[in-house]
């Protein structure tokens, strides 16, 4: 051995009450290496990273840092050693600004940091407003703060937990460039992802995990996507089948002239949004998060009720929705799958049975103000079976499920009532490949039954994979619709950065 590994794990084991999260895991990361850790949700990647970062203590096994055995007792110790981490689940204080959050980990005055943040933002293409408060930010923006916070600490090893899932294509290329530059300076990078093409494009070595064990250490450049998938999930998965348009294509939901100025000064206002959802079609809204998608979905679902005269109209099957609340809209057939699963789409400490009631009580589950518990439980059981949700049954709490399984449950719950319109925000964000494929297939099945579907997603591949029509959102404005089959991924990428013209011109050329 010529070179000492930056980080060497041997036999690392961590058991939780219900599951053996890591089972004798070995891992070597060399200086200057970009090392992929690949695996489905629940494979033990996150636990392993928390052990390296010191926020979880292993039950057994050794950790060596630059040739010396160390006991990483806390994230503070990890940072002292030079290990930085960008979390998948964000660790930011909601009531503080971006700069204040970063100042908790990086020394320097707020003013000084704001300057450095702006400089780093520009350098790495990570658009962050230092003075804006975290509570008003979307998932994507929060992640960008996490990445910046880590980079500003000048670490020797950076752990990146699914960093690309909320970046536009141009942003991903820029991030990769940054990571390669960091690696060339001798910094080791652990890159966690389930996007195989990214791993092939970026990484040198890939450690593949399944069920808490390492099932292979492979050369990322040599393996192809198919062999990596097989290694990762132990079987092959089929791409969702996408038939030609069904239904009569009549307009089910028509939105015209929708305006909304949020209370938060840093969140973009919705400007004159017009949108038509048609029967048997999936419309996809692409765009980097924080461009008004959150306000749009809330307005459509009824969480934000339009007050003023120029607020525009939302018409469902010919009837104005007006000030209808979300539950009133649901009785009319408009259902919504929100971006946040735990705490919004589901109540963490409630059982799946209780969580079923969150959006389905109106469907004959209540008699004289009393909930029919047996019927609700049966509905939950039906959803669990229909969506193949891996859980302890209808009495399992929502927080006991993995992210992917909970999302399958939430999507299934909304599908169970056969909605006329389904709005889904980031339906597969952070969900493992198997669950993501299942969710996409269910959405396509619903479309084939004649429902009108709106998908808001930052994953451009997902938009192109399942949508019939694409619109792009940028700074509160929505581009005109283009056909998914004829649109180019580059034009959509440009539109995500604010240039709607290319999209419109090309679409016009096809008409």
């Amino acid at each position: 051995m010529v070179e000492t590994p930056l980080l060497r794990l041997r036999g690392v084991t961590k058991a939780y009450p219900a599951v053996l999260a890591n089972d004798a895991v070995d891992l070597d990361v060399m200086p200057g290496e970009i090392h992929a850790v690949l695996g489905e949700n629940g494979a033990g990647k996150s636990t392993l990273m928390k052990i390296i970062y010191g926020s979880v203590r292993p039950d057994a096994g050794t950790v060596e840092w630059r040739g010396e055995q160390v006991d990483i007792q806390s994230p503070l110790k990890a940072r002292d050693l030079g290990i930085g981490m960008v979390f998948q689940h964000f660790s930011l204080f909601e009531t503080l600004t971006a700069a204040e959050n970063i100042s908790l980990a990086v020394p320097g005055t707020i003013a000084d940091l704001s300057t450095r943040i702006r400089a780093a933002s520009a350098q790495f293409g990570l658009d962050v407003e230092p003075d804006s408060r975290v509570q008003a930010m979307t998932v994507g923006e929060r992640q960008r703060i996490e990445i910046l916070r880590c980079i500003l600490q000048e670490p020797k090893l950076i752990i990146m937990d699914e960093p690309t899932s909320v970046l536009p294509p141009q942003g991903i290329a820029k991030l990769f460039e940054t990571l390669r530059r960091l690696a060339s300076e001798g910094i080791g990078i652990i890159f966690i992802s389930h996007k195989l093409d990214e791993i092939k494009a970026l990484c040198d070595t890939a450690t593949v995990m399944r069920g808490g064990r390492v099932v292979g250490v492979v050369d990322a450049k040599v393996e192809d996507a198919r062999s990596l998938t097989r290694l990762m999930i132990g079987r092959e998965i089929a791409a969702p089948s996408h038939s030609a348009e069904r239904g009569d294509g009549h307009a089910v939901l028509e939105v015209a002239g929708l305006n909304h100025t949020p209370l938060d000064p840093f969140a973009p206002a919705l400007k004159d949004i017009s949108l038509t959802l048609r029967s048997g079609q999936i419309t996809g809204i692409a765009g980097v998060s924080g461009n008004g998608q959150d306000a749009l979905t809330r307005a459509l679902a009824g969480e934000i009720v339009q007050g003023s005269q120029d607020a525009g109209t939302i018409v469902l099957e010919g009837a104005e929705l007006g000030a209808d609340t979300p539950d009133q809209r649901r009785t009319k057939g408009l259902h919504f799958v929100p971006e946040e699963r735990l705490g919004r789409g589901a109540v963490p400490i409630h059982t799946l049975s209780e969580n079923t009631g969150l959006t389905t009580h109106h469907a004959g589950l209540v008699n004289w103000g009393m909930v029919k518990l047996g019927k609700r439980r049966a509905l939950a059981q039906g959803t669990i079976e229909a969506m193949d949700v891996r859980c302890g049954g209808p009495d399992a709490t929502a927080q006991s499920l993995s992210g992917g399984n909970l999302q399958k449950f939430i999507v299934g719950r909304e599908l169970a009532l056969r909605p006329k319109v389904l709005i889904a925000s980031q339906p597969t964000w952070g969900v493992d490949v198997g669950a993501a494929a299942a969710i996409r297939q269910k959405l396509i099945d619903l479309r084939d039954e004649g429902a009108a579907i709106l998908i808001v997603s930052e994953e451009i591949e997902e938009i192109f994979e399942i949508c019939d029509t694409i619109q792009v959102m940028f700074r509160g404005q929505l581009s005109p619709p283009v056909q998914a089959q004829t649109a180019s991924i580059d034009d959509v990428g440009l539109a995500m950065a604010g240039d709607f013209d290319a999209l419109v011109l090309r679409e016009a050329a096809h008409v």
């Binding site: 084991t13 039950d59 809209r329 109540v347 103000g369 399992a396």
Partner: protein, 364 residues
């Protein structure tokens, strides 16, 4: 090496709140023992006076049941709000206003034998409590004023209102200027439930309210919506549940229950309106609700325990000569230890044995 680990419970269990409550009682006994020793009283004798002595006589049991009635009513009402994270801590004031409203009727219809007087007083008392809590609901729903502060401060207002009324407009004209109302007629008083004790029908009302609370909590859509709003406000917004409705319901229900408890005092053991109508039932009710795990059944047991501490404190005063502040100290310790142990509701402590660790470690 072996070690203790604290880990989150994989699933919800009904045993956790019971364990935590029992642990709080145990720690309170330990803390109480220390206090008794400082005071020169043998700990076992002191604990015996508070927890066992009252149970030995039918008089003691009767007094416990008497004090249980207001605690039960108040705590069942408060728990409904607490589950929705709406913190009415002014049940004491709502109790006072309820008592005043009922007394107004008793004075107005002095001399009547109509069986309708008592039901009318109950309704008036509940309305009084609801109006007092409703002020806090209005301020919270319309102006987002913190209901903890508003309900708490309104208790002081209610107390001053009571002092004014018993010294003036509601004073018994032939009562030698004592600050108290007339003695209520039989028609304005609750019938005695158990012969030979002071236990009256308000305990029956408290138990019926508990039964309604059980059904309300376990089955009703309203309670479900309120609990979602309390645990996960974003989920309530997503579902379309109105937070204002939850605020109004929580405060009106708890205010009405506290007002009813006030009627139980003036139409029960007191038989009149006076300056001291409650030995802090409104505050003790908060402890009962929390100690009962905010569960209607748990609250029944917790109210019995709290009533025992009230009566036991009196017993200890008489038999051991310890100050009657012992009641407040024991109540305070119960709440403090419960809150200190409440992390065990969602977590558990596990002892990892050395050999278990070896088994989990890799063989090679």
């Amino acid at each position: 090496m072996s070690r203790l680990v604290i880990e989150s419970r994989p699933e919800r269990t009904v045993w956790a709140p019971i364990q935590v409550s029992l642990l709080a009682v145990l720690l309170t006994c330990l803390g109480g023992s220390v206090l008794f020793m400082i005071y020169g009283v043998p700990p076992l004798k002191g604990l015996d006076a508070i927890f066992i002595d009252p149970l030995r006589t039918s008089y003691g049991v009767g007094e416990i049941l008497l004090k249980m009635a207001p605690l039960l009513l108040i705590a069942q009402g408060l728990a409904i709000g607490f589950r929705a994270q709406i913190w009415n801590i002014g049940a004491e004031g709502q109790l006072i206003v309820g008592a005043i409203a009922a007394t107004a009727l008793a004075i107005q219809f002095q001399g009547t034998t109509s069986p309708l007087l008592l039901p009318a007083m109950i309704i008036a008392g509940m309305m009084g409590g609801m109006v007092w809590a409703g002020i806090a609901a209005l301020l919270r729903a319309q102006f987002n004023a913190n209901e903890i502060l508003v309900t708490f401060m309104l208790t002081s207002v209610a107390l001053q209102l009571l002092y004014y009324l018993v010294a003036g407009p509601m004073r018994d004209p032939s009562g030698f200027n004592f600050p108290q109302s007339i003695r209520f007629d039989a028609a304005a008083k609750f019938p005695i439930l158990i012969e030979g004790t002071r236990v009256n029908a308000s305990l029956f009302i408290g138990l019926v309210a508990s039964l309604i609370a059980v059904i309300f909590v376990q089955r009703s859509l309203v309670s479900y919506k309120m609990s979602v709003g309390g645990i996960a406000p974003a989920a309530a917004t997503y579902a379309g549940y109105s937070s204002k409705k939850a605020i109004w319901l929580a405060l009106l229900i708890s205010g009405g229950a506290a007002g009813m408890a006030g009627v139980g005092e003036v139409s029960g053991p007191l038989g009149m309106l006076q300056r001291n109508i409650s030995p802090g039932y409104g505050y003790a009710g908060i402890i009962v609700a929390v100690l009962g795990g905010l569960h209607p059944i748990g609250i029944i047991f917790a109210s019995a325990l709290m009533a025992l501490v009230y009566v036991g404190g009196d017993f200890a005063l008489l038999s051991l000569g310890v100050p009657n502040a012992v009641t407040g100290i024991f109540q305070g310790m119960l709440l403090t230890f419960y809150l200190a142990c409440s992390f065990l509701l969602t977590s558990r402590i596990r002892w990892i044995k050395p050999d278990a660790l070896k088994q989990e470690a890799p063989a090679d």
